[in-house]
Symmetry: C2
Subunit: 337 residues, 2 copies
């Protein structure tokens, strides 16, 4: 009953009292629910404004059993994986879609053991209304955690080896195939592949697309040369490739970062692109446009990926049963191939 105190936040009861209505009426008025007369509604609004009242989200969450937040968790041993601008784009898309549904975004970088443990607890608690999981790897601990979740979960990209009930993915195989076919159509016959991490589904799927296309064209696919989706790893892979196969005339890189790395190595080795070696990337991020020469690449709708994940999650939260989505890719031709 302390009326002084260091300026506490006003509560609904105080609004109630000032407006001269009952608590339920005040609650209804503020949530503009029906069954409130015009007069009382205005009285409540006035009182709320006067007091500077803002509902306490925690109390509301407890009462409604809805937190008003959705988690986006990015897996990965190393937090630097998150430095890939890919995720920023996903976030932009997801954030916008979540905003439409009035949900907040909790971002979890599940890099350390501690981080993963917290994510596990989050998923098994009622700490969010739903979760989006990305970048899962072979035997990723998050896979099990997802199974134990007490909230709806949608995957961004499929985890390796299993196909979850709800996911949004990009047509990695198709994109890689198209890229490779393009290279072949330009007369390249000794086309190597710089793969992404083969413990990720995206890395595997893109190599599969490349191999399929090569086989279909009657060419011999190169064995996978693995990078880790970073520029330096692409440069290194290119150097190794050049050493082993000095006669190659085309390269499919599983993402733009590695494509840019390949370009750098090629430049250093005095192998003109695309005249001598043609290079195609994947992602169509800013780096592809900036690269020298600008990188021909497979465009994937990254922000849309984030958006659709969020929309699917919202649908799930609302009790609907959406169907998985595979987003199309398309080849963007620039100067590198």
């Amino acid at each position: 009953m302390a009326k002084d105190a260091p300026r506490r936040q006003p509560t609904l009861d105080e609004v109630t009292e000032l407006a001269g209505v009952s608590r339920s009426v005040a609650s209804r008025a503020l949530n503009n629910a029906p069954h409130v007369s015009r007069a009382k509604r205005e009285a409540v609004e006035r009182a709320a404004r006067q007091l500077g009242y803002v509902p306490n989200p925690t109390a509301r969450a407890l009462a409604t059993r809805q937190t008003g937040a959705a988690a986006l968790v990015v897996s990965g041993e190393d937090p630097s994986i998150f430095a890939d601008p890919f995720f920023a784009q996903v976030i932009v898309g997801a954030s916008a879609a979540l905003e439409e549904a009035d949900l907040h975004l909790m971002l979890c970088l599940a890099a350390s053991d501690r981080g993963r443990k917290r994510v596990g607890e989050l998923l098994r608690s009622k700490g969010a209304d739903g979760a989006m999981l990305m970048a899962l790897r072979v035997d990723d601990p998050l896979t099990r955690m997802a199974e134990e979740a007490v909230m709806p979960v949608v995957f961004g990209g499929r985890p390796v080896g299993s196909t979850p009930r709800w996911y949004v993915d990009v047509d990695n195989v198709g994109g890689a195939r198209e890229a490779t076919e393009y290279l072949v159509s330009r007369g390249r016959t000794r086309v190597a592949a710089i793969c992404g991490r083969l413990d990720t589904e995206a890395g595997r799927a893109r190599y599969r697309g490349y191999r399929d296309a090569m086989l279909a064209a009657g060419l011999e696919p190169f064995p996978p040369r693995e990078g880790d989706f970073t520029e330096p790893s692409g440069a290194a892979a290119m150097a190794a490739l050049l050493a082993d196969h000095p006669d190659l005339d085309g390269v499919f890189a599983a993402n733009d970062n590695m494509g840019a790395g390949a370009l750098r190595t090629l430049r250093g080795a005095g192998r003109p692109v695309p005249d001598d070696v043609a290079v195609v990337g994947f992602d169509d991020l800013a780096v592809a446009r900036i690269a020298d020469p600008p990188l021909t690449t497979v465009h994937q709708p990254i922000a849309a990926l984030g958006r659709e994940m969020a929309r699917m999650l919202v649908a799930l939260i609302n009790g609907q049963d959406p169907t998985p989505l595979i987003l199309p890719t398309r080849l963007v031709t620039r100067l590198s191939a």
Copy 2:
């Protein structure tokens, strides 16, 4: 009292009952607080495990008046500003520091009006334990919202025109000065500046550093040529600069993206870098290393910026009174200057 129901989450009371202890003992045991005998503590833990009990964060938050979350809000008309890898790095740093304090990260992209409104409500409600604000601009609506916040707020970079009580910033003026001095020390005398947005403090401060250095060297600073921190804007600014001042021999770009753009324009114009024109950037992001030639740039500790913001916020939440921080920059010389 419905004992069936579609498998509800177990509550503390159920653990309590199974373990044969009172609710307070169970609570204490699970929070490993004192005043619980070893035997009961184990009984509680066993019961919790058996039931698969996970505390409900919302209920806990309501009781403790702590949400266990901190918000990171990024201002900006356009969500694409967030695509700058700069923010990803900040997030990595902040996320790690928050994790240490067992806080979750809520990410708010305050781009749309609706988004800003939600941020305002968040800050005035008890929806988080604290907030970090970034990328504020001239007359940014977030400035006022920050003042009305009911939670501690720390700024990442100072807002234009005012110096908040708590912030973490980078020595933008010093970094820009050092970059310009370096250019001058290499014998450049007609050094232009490609500025970042001048409605941001970082944009202004970096131009100020450049101007100071020019003046100190007895050279005439160029008027600000404004870009928006993106690669294309840097390329465009460079083109305009070349048209107006074909005789320039050095360029200070207020970030690496614009520096890379400048490089691209210069390459297209057949002006060799650094022999004809030397270029220095700012940020030391991946793009600087990838650029051709690799960009000499001002390194700023971005992840540390995020980390220190989070630590400062945690200190504030814990009732301490930390002091503002200005992080040092350092010049990284590569091949472009």
